[in-house]
């Protein structure tokens, strides 16, 4: 689906990460894995450090911290926010949603709307589209878009195919209505027939958590996990990414009339995925930031705003850039967006202090 929206802007972005550092090599050695093998994977895939949330800290906490820092930096009165869009796959509860809980924590207006949007690595672009819709056509002047996950909690330590990958982070972006006709072009796609490629099979209504869903089993490759853990078929995800994402990226750039973007904020799966994906999209790999996973881990829905904060914060403080944003993952789903960003406030990424 192609959707064009105008008369909105991203006023600012902040990202708060987990505060516990994990080291790919050290963790692998502790798990009894050969150092040479670990270093081979580390170099080939781009896995080094990641930051995870300490016990008791959730995506809501991380996003609240990012939101408070952002609203303070922008000197925005919280009562002026008309809507909260909260993108997460790791909410605090089945009910109520994180958006309502954040609304309460921030003391927002009772006239505001607040809802969650369930998506992972493609989720920030989905959330931006919803926030933009509300500003462009929905009567909102200001929308707080939060996106964050604590996927490190969902993996099993005995599953080396996913456990070393994920970091935890929460993001906040303020989206505002403007009088300026500066269009963004969004391209969305879904392949629900392959939904089992990335999944947490148990813990929801279809298969409630029980003693049997906690039983750890080994797969054909020796990875251990239970039905309540996140599982991912890495090879299938790679194929899907290369098959679907380049077309969406090229369609967004074509719709925007750009030969090339000035800023590229791709979901940071890992350096290996991004290096191949950039080429498949016809982009100069040197123009695509791809170093976040080795610094912070795969941050799921927070990784696109993390690229803005980490790679473009200084530039965006004074300049407007043609931004290509792209996410892809659970669903399976993908989303690409091309539009102007900046000047705006992109705060430095910080670990949660508590």
């Amino acid at each position: 689906m192609h959707s064009a929206l105008s008369h909105f802007r991203i006023a600012g972005v902040a990202v708060t990460t987990g505060s516990v550092e994990r080291d790919f090599i050290a963790d692998g050695l502790a798990a009894g894995i050969d150092r040479a093998q670990l270093e081979r994977v580390s170099a080939a895939v781009g896995l080094r450090k990641r930051l995870v949330a300490p016990a008791g800290v959730t995506a809501l906490d991380l996003c609240e911290d990012a939101a408070r820092r952002l609203l303070s930096a922008l000197d925005v009165d919280p009562s002026s926010i008309d809507a909260v869009v909260f993108v997460t796959q790791t909410p605090d509860h089945p009910q109520p949603n994180d958006a309502s809980l954040l609304h309460g924590r921030l003391g927002l207006s009772k006239a505001a709307m607040a809802f969650d949007l369930s998506h992972g690595c493609s989720g920030w672009v989905y959330g931006l589209h919803q926030a933009a819709l509300l500003c462009a056509h929905g009567g909102a002047a200001r929308v707080l878009l939060c996106a964050g996950d604590t996927l490190s909690r969902l993996t099993h330590p005995a599953d080396r195919s996913v456990d070393p990958i994920f970091g935890d982070a929460g993001s906040a972006a303020l989206v505002e209505r403007t009088g300026v006709d500066a269009p963004w072009h969004f391209i969305f796609g879904t392949d629900g027939s392959a939904a089992d490629v990335i999944a947490v099979p148990a813990g929801g209504a279809r298969s409630p958590a029980s003693e049997s869903t906690k039983v750890v089993k080994r797969d054909a490759e020796g990875h251990g996990r239970c039905e309540e853990n996140l599982r991912m078929d890495g090879a299938a995800v790679m194929s899907f990414t290369l098959r679907e994402v380049p077309g969406a990226v090229k369609a967004a750039l074509t719709a925007a009339g750009w030969k090339a973007p000035e800023a590229c904020a791709f979901h940071q799966a890992n350096r290996f995925v991004l290096s191949v994906l950039a080429k498949a999209c016809g982009l100069d790999p040197a123009s695509v930031p791809m170093d976040l996973t080795e610094r912070f881990g795969n941050l799921s829905s927070a990784s696109v705003p993390a690229v803005l904060a980490h790679a473009y914060g200084a530039a965006l403080s004074t300049a407007s850039l043609r931004l290509l944003a792209c996410g892809y993952g659970v669903g399976l789903s993908w989303a690409a967006a091309a539009g102007p960003i900046g000047p705006c406030v992109c705060l430095p990424m910080l670990p949660l202090r508590r």
């Binding site: 078929d233 090879a235 790679m238 194929s239 290369l242 290996f272």
Partner: protein, 75 residues
């Protein structure tokens, strides 16, 4: 593209197969592991537009079996 050209491309794309011959047994190659499987899947998708599963790659006994996953009409 003939088998020699496909083998050459496979050797470039997969680090543990840089000196591989068609009859080499994959299980005997050092570091023939899940990363190597991912590299094969990526190479086939990116360079040929051919989707293969990790299970298909793991089921291959030899390098020739890997190349046979590519349709013969593939350029």
């Amino acid at each position: 593209m003939n088998e020699a050209a496909r083998l050459s491309a496979l050797r470039k794309a997969v680090d543990v197969l840089t000196d591989a011959s068609p009859d080499d047994r994959l299980a005997a190659r050092p570091n023939w592991d899940s990363l190597a499987v991912l590299l094969v899947v990526t190479h086939f998708e990116h360079d040929y537009g051919v989707t293969v599963t990790g299970a298909q790659v793991r089921a291959c006994a030899t390098v020739r079996d890997l190349l046979a996953l590519l349709p013969s009409s593939q350029p």
